[in-house]
């Protein structure tokens, strides 16, 4: 969904933490703000992964980043086949 709103698939952004990267992402793609945030807080239906691990189980938006880390953002819109 975010991919659709941004009209792009992959971006390279610099940042020390996830929050830094999100800030840079919104600076270049301001239309994403309403998709990702609600009243300044990350929407509860947004999942952010750092190298495949949900930041809820890391340090949230303060999760530190290394070079070449991959951040994946998606909304909770998926479900498997019954």
């Amino acid at each position: 969904m975010t991919r659709q709103a941004a009209g792009l698939v992959h971006l390279e952004l610099a940042g020390v933490t996830v929050a830094d990267v999100l800030q840079r992402l919104l600076a270049s793609n301001p239309e994403l703000k309403s998709h990702l945030f609600d009243g300044g807080r990350l929407r509860p239906d947004i999942c952010i992964l750092v190298n495949g691990r949900n930041i809820r189980y890391l340090d949230g938006e303060a999760t530190p980043l290394d070079d070449d880390d991959t951040i994946t953002i998606f909304r909770q819109v998926a479900g498997g086949a019954p």
Binding site: M1, R3, D45, C47, L49, N51, G52, R53, N54, R56, Y57, T72, F74, R75, Q76, V77, A78, G79, G80, A81, P82
Partner: protein, 598 residues
């Protein structure tokens, strides 16, 4: 009765006897319908240790008390029998329009027993029931069978049929209804084939009596609003269908690749829901009274022709794709179309071919056995083996037995990615511990829809997928609630937006029974335990609540779950304890007493 139609249709194909029985109100209350009521019937009537292909095996088509009502997404039925793939209970679920038609014809369940000497089909028009010759349809695919039977009966008839795979007793043959919807797993179509029953055609013109129309309507509208506003049911599934999961699961490093050797697939983007939507999607298709409309009508260019069908769904894309290392989405879609036409479970097919590919890579299988080279990534090989499996031709005759028997035959049983001889679906449990416990304890063998903890572990990220703590309790709650949802006749997808307290007012208003939250969940627990009792009676036990050795001993080699295996033993001990079962996985007398099963 309200909610329930109150009548069970029983057909004995050996004698030709057709009888109608009154539904017992107490049984209906305790086992609800569909999966629950049919499982109770199978448990009570099937002699222990009956061979699944023996005429004595029962084949039960069962709808729930909400099936065919105005309740949102209540368009499901179950096909229940003893599975020829697993030897355990089989309860395979499908939606569409046929399930409601069974109810409009006046029945909650159709029980088929015995075996016909010649191919036949059932023609049910309200209270008129006939056994008709199906010689003209034998050997035909499911679509042609559907058309031929509607020509002979009523163009509005809804049809359940088997294809070649069911006729040939492929152990993972499914049944197809409404031309493209599948009760696909556990070989229920093979049991139908063993009875020489090609199809069941139903036309119903009656209605369903609701006890409290106003309360029912209010509950329907409340649930509809929740379904429409839920991110998964209101947006994700309608927009992308189930295949949206390919990239999500691959991002978590748990998209099983090359027979579960890896958890990440380099070709994921090419087989993703986004690619399917962009390149192949014609339109969405929904089941009766369902605003979600997750079905995908797709079209491919194949050998110069445009071919149209439905799917593939996420699980099929995975099994025919990543599991075999194949990233050609058009080919995967073609094989999925063939599976529908042959009436064959694409999950077990893909997983079995993946197992054969690893056996080939290991040098255990050679061209002498397979008749062709069989490497991971070989789409043409998969295509050819799909046809051969359905026909039981050459090496296909071996694949038609499923991966557990294949791997056992060649002395490498550990390479079958299955539990209770049924192949796993599309989530590597080394990176999602709860679903690992779910695969191990599922009453129908490796399966995601008996206890879809992926919803909590990955989709909603409500619990950490890598930890095993708390997963036994989570799984039990999901398993019991799933029994309720399957038994009332609702779609499991509603559970992304609805809970037990949303189902409760619907069921009470429809039936007039005063279920409480506790008694309804206890009915779910009763059904789960009854299925367990069936399996125990068939000789399955703790040793069958296990996983393929790879998942227990070989850490995932890369990705977010790198280094992890499934921590099964500790989760299983806790699971048994919380279930009120002994160390061998047998419900205690106290538990049976509490559930009214003693």
């Amino acid at each position: 009765m309200y909610g329930w139609m109150g009548t069970i249709l029983r057909v004995n194909l050996s004698t030709g006897a057709i009888t109608k029985e009154k539904l017992d109100e107490n049984l209906a209350r305790d086992y609800i319908g569909a999966r629950g009521l049919a499982s109770k019937t199978l448990y009570d009537e099937l002699p222990p240790r009956t061979d699944p292909f023996d005429p004595a095996n029962l084949l039960i088509f069962a709808a729930g008390p909400l099936t065919g009502t105005a309740a949102t997404s209540a368009s499901r039925y179950n096909v229940v029998t003893k599975s020829p793939l697993t030897g355990a209970i089989a309860a395979s679920n499908s939606g569409g329009y046929l399930p409601a038609e069974i109810r409009y014809a006046g029945y909650d369940m159709i029980i088929v027993e015995g075996r016909s000497e010649e191919p036949v089909y059932l023609w049910i028009k309200d209270d008129q029931v006939e056994i008709r010759s199906a010689k003209a349809m034998w050997g035909k695919g499911t679509r042609e069978t559907d058309a031929l039977i509607r020509d002979e009966t009523d163009d509005e008839a809804k049809i359940i049929s088997i294809g070649i795979a069911g006729e040939k007793l492929v152990r993972f043959a499914g049944v197809i209804n409404d031309r493209e919807r599948a009760a696909g797993r556990s070989g229920v179509g093979a049991v139908m084939g063993s009875k020489n029953l090609k199809a069941v055609a139903v036309r119903g013109t009656g209605g369903i009596k609701i006890k409290d129309g106003a309360a029912f309507r209010e509950a329907v509208l409340r649930n509809l609003a929740k379904i429409k506003s839920g991110p998964v049911t209101g947006e994700g599934l309608p927009t992308y269908g189930t295949a949206i999961l390919v990239n999500v699961i691959n991002s978590h490093g748990i998209l099983p690749t090359n027979n579960f050797q890896l958890g990440e697939f380099a070709g994921a983007e090419a087989i993703s829901g986004e690619t399917l939507t962009r390149d192949l999607l014609v339109r969405n298709r929904g089941c009766l009274a369902c605003p979600i409309g997750c079905g995908r009508v797709t079209e491919i260019n194949w050998e110069g022709n445009r071919e149209r069908g439905e799917g593939p769904e996420y699980e099929s894309i995975w099994a025919l794709g990543a599991a075999c290392g194949i990233s050609d989405l058009e080919l995967i879609t073609k094989v999925n179309f063939l599976c529908n036409e042959y009436g064959m479970d694409p999950i077990t097919l893909g997983a079995t071919v993946a197992c054969a590919m690893e056996l080939f890579a290991e040098g255990v299988l050679t061209v002498e056995e397979t008749g062709m080279p069989l490497h991971f990534g070989d789409g043409q090989g998969l295509l050819e083996l799909t046809r051969k499996t359905a026909m039981r031709e050459g090496f296909g005759d071996v694949l038609a037995e499923g991966s557990a028997r294949l791997a056992e035959k060649y002395g490498r049983p550990e390479l079958s990615m299955s539990s209770k001889k049924q192949e796993y679906p599309a989530y590597d449990p080394r990176g999602s511990q709860g679903i690992g416990l779910g695969y191990a304890t599922s009453n129908r063998g490796g399966c995601h829809v008996r206890g879809y903890t992926i919803g909590a572990e990955i989709v909603a990220a409500a619990v950490d997928p890598l930890t095993s703590a708390g997963k036994a309790k989570l799984l039990i709650d999901v398993q019991d609630f799933t029994c309720v949802v399957d038994s009332v006749g609702m779609c499991l997808f509603t559970t992304f937006s609805l809970g037990v307290d949303d189902v409760l007012p619907l069921l009470n208003a429809a039936t007039g029974v005063d279920y409480t939250t506790e008694s309804l969940l206890q009915a779910g627990e009763r059904i789960w335990n009854l299925e367990r009792l069936f399996n125990l009676r068939e000789g399955l036990g703790r040793e069958d609540d296990s996983l393929a050795p790879r998942l227990l001993q070989e850490p995932l080699p890369a990705g977010p779950a790198k280094g992890n295996v499934v921590e099964l033993e500790s989760m299983l001990n806790e699971y048994y304890q919380l279930r009120g079962w002994d160390n061998e996985g047998r419900p205690t007398g106290e538990k049976l007493q509490a559930l009214g099963l003693g």
